[in-house]
């Protein structure tokens, strides 16, 4: 039981379309679900986890429907994003309860093993409401691993973790992927996904924007047109000199801003060109700022690409 298939799935809430006709297949190894906040990542994960019915289309695990089928939880482990988790229990009691709910033959041993895997044995007898966010995250992880699932779904697992905890969780997920498990995690941070995932699915505004390995996604992201806002001692002369080079696609003299708006095609070529041209013409650069480096604009480029 290792492949989750999402087939022509849409999901809307009232008039809001959260997921729009997405088709993707998540197989063994680590897959990153990348997208800005509000892109529909959680909605997708909730559908894969059986907590939400698709409005249209189907979500299946090796051909078995997931919605309203509690048998799939023998094979799926879930790390939810929300924090609610029986805070009045200790970490050990919480993981043990999860092991019992799975009907494992030896829940005590399974809980012990899972807590050791996430390195939480040292704090297992403290109440959960005394835990830091990173500790809670690891106990959630232990509860998801306790029945040794072949599929692991994690919604924003790195949120609130410190760098050391982050590295540890990454190692753990990498290991699980190498063992042949299907590991899917969502994130809105490209670097996080890039470090961990061998395969990336990008969603933006409910749509499936891109799919592939991280090099391909990275190239799509860096090869897009870059926009800059530049102010100099002689905007018009600078514009004339820059447009002659193949790395610029368009230049606009913005009178209200008293600045140049430059669209570059070749990122590395342009960053080398601009200071050289300025020096050759004796032009002073006052401002050079990228005007669309926000993640949202990177993503929205991917959607139209």
């Amino acid at each position: 039981m290792t492949t989750i298939t999402i087939d022509n799935v849409s999901r809307w809430f009232g008039n809001v379309v959260a997921v729009n006709d997405v088709t993707m297949s998540i197989g063994p190894g680590v897959t990153g679900l990348l997208g800005p906040n509000g892109a529909g990542k959680s909605t997708l994960i909730n559908m894969m986890a059986g907590f939400l019915a698709p409005s249209t289309g189907s979500v299946t695990l090796d051909g078995t429907r997931i919605w309203r089928n509690e048998e799939v939880y023998h094979h799926i482990g879930i790390v939810p994003e929300r924090e609610g988790m029986y805070d009045f229990l200790t970490g050990a009691e919480f993981v043990l309860a999860n092991a019992e709910l799975h009907g494992l033959p030896d829940p005590g041993a399974a809980a012990h093993r899972a807590l050791a895997t996430v390195e939480m044995a040292y704090a297992q007898d403290r109440k959960i409401d005394t835990y830091s966010k990173g500790m809670r995250q690891r106990v959630k992880m232990a509860s998801a691993l306790v029945h040794d699932p072949s599929v692991l779904l994690l919604d924003e697992p790195f949120n609130g973790m410190d760098p050391r905890q982050r590295l540890h969780l990454m190692d753990l997920l990498r290991q699980m992927g190498a063992d042949g498990r299907t590991v899917l995690f969502s994130s809105h941070i490209l670097e996080e996904v890039e470090q961990l995932a061998s395969h990336i699915e990008v969603v933006v505004a409910g749509r499936h924007a891109a799919s592939g390995d991280f090099r391909k996604i990275r190239r799509l992201m860096t090869d897009r047109p870059h926009r800059y806002l530049v102010r100099s001692s002689d905007d018009r002369q600078l514009a004339a000199a820059l447009i002659a080079d193949a790395s610029t696609a368009a230049i606009e003299l913005d009178w209200s801003e008293k600045a140049l708006r430059i669209q570059a095609i070749d990122f590395s070529g342009f960053t080398e060109l601009l200071p050289r041209v300025a020096r050759e013409h004796g032009i002073r650069l006052y401002t050079v700022s990228p005007s669309d480096e926000s993640l949202e604009s990177v993503f929205s480029y991917l959607v139209t690409a």
Binding site: G38, S42, Y73, Y86, A97
Partner: protein
């Protein structure tokens, strides 16, 4: 159909939260009032019936029912921790039946038993009043637990809805509109008390056969519907 782990979690959640204070406060109040009445007014069957019917059965039992019934599931749905029950190969009806069992147990322990004790304090079970109201409270606890557990599954405002039902419908409208009493858990259980209690002290607006049919029907229907709703419970879909 009964899961001991679910029961343990539910039980600890019910008695571990602040709302548990009300579970202790209401029965304690009933006992204190009973002791005071007995000391000041002596043994009087009519006073006993008024207090057990007017405060215990009409106010305390439904309030305890609201706390036990909604408290058995609503907080978990609210804070999202229900995920840890739902992401398990557990039949949804067994989750509901287990939680219902715990809710009934807690409701009975905190309403039926204190009612019975209060009856003994007030008139030493003369005319079987302590037993009559104790059993009526126990039966009402079952129906209330089922109804308010369902409310806990279907609405985010289960406690408010439960209080409105318990206080406005059962107490207020029941007193003003005689017809409304026919559709009242309180009246159904009173029918039982009327059968058990001696003399004509206990009065219900509903006949016993009708009352029993309605009690069973409401309990079963609410439980079945709660299980159905839990099967398709949608978790925090909106982003």
């Amino acid at each position: 159909m009964y899961n001991p782990t679910v029961a343990r979690l539910t039980f600890r959640a019910l008695l571990g939260r602040r709302r548990a204070l009300i579970l202790f406060a209401l029965p304690a109040l009933l006992i204190v009032i009973s002791v005071a009445v007995r000391a000041l007014a002596g043994v009087d069957d009519n006073v006993t019936s008024d207090l057990l019917g007017g405060f215990a059965l009409a106010t305390m039992v439904p309030l305890i029912g609201v706390i036990a019934g909604t408290g058995a599931i609503a907080p978990e749905i609210d804070d999202g921790s229900i995920v840890y029950l739902l992401a398990k190969p557990l039949k949804r009806p067994s989750i509901i039946l287990t939680k219902l069992t715990v809710a009934i147990g807690v409701a009975m322990a905190f309403s039926a038993i204190p009612t019975f004790i209060a009856g003994y304090i007030l008139n030493g079970n003369s005319q079987q009043l302590a037993v009559a109201y104790g059993i009526a409270a126990a039966v009402a606890s079952i129906a209330y637990a089922a109804v308010f557990l369902l409310l806990g599954v279907v609405t985010r405002h289960a406690v408010v809805a439960g209080l409105v039902y318990a206080l406005v419908w059962e107490s207020l409208i029941g007193n003003l509109v005689p017809g409304a009493r026919t559709l009242s858990v309180q009246q159904w259980s009173l029918a039982l008390a009327q059968k058990i209690g001696g003399g004509d002290i206990v009065q219900s607006d509903v006949g016993l056969p009708v009352a029993i049919v309605l009690l069973v029907a409401v309990t079963v229907a609410a439980t079945w519907f709660a299980a159905q709703r839990l099967r398709s419970l949608t978790l925090a879909g909106e982003e």
